[in-house]
Symmetry: C2
Subunit: 83 residues, 2 copies
């Protein structure tokens, strides 16, 4: 399993409740792709969303977002993580 | 205290050890700005680094990176976070 960060744009003015609803749609379909979304962060001013996930491939993560109705093409594999 | 994600580009081929050294330089100076860097993730293929931090302002976070020798201008405040 690899770790990924994907980035969405255009979520200007989105509320926490709306982000949670979108995230719940990811969680509802993620198992079909072997993906798990760990956390998501939103900057409602710029409209950027960052999603941290684990899964078998970039393509699998992007398919989950597509099935959930909020596709993106910007994703990075993160083999290196430090705390 | 607010939460932030900043993004660096150009770290192509950087190793875990090199990222750790860079992160240690942040940790060495962060207290002077009231900032704490929680985690950092690197995609050595695209050269992107994502840093998750908390602190009083975007400017304070960026000053830490500048003092540590790896400035960036791309930063987002994250008032909304979900798990």
């Amino acid at each position: 399993m690899a770790k990924f960060m994907d980035v969405h744009s255009g979520f200007v003015g989105v509320t926490e409740e709306q982000l949670r609803e979108a995230h719940e749609r990811d969680l509802a379909v993620e198992a079909s792709e072997g993906v798990h979304f760990e956390r998501a962060w939103l900057d409602p001013e710029s409209g950027k969303v960052f999603c941290l996930s684990s899964g078998p491939s970039k393509e699998a993560v992007l398919r989950v977002h597509e099935k959930a109705g909020h596709p993106t093409t910007e994703i990075y594999e993160l083999p290196i993580e430090i705390e």
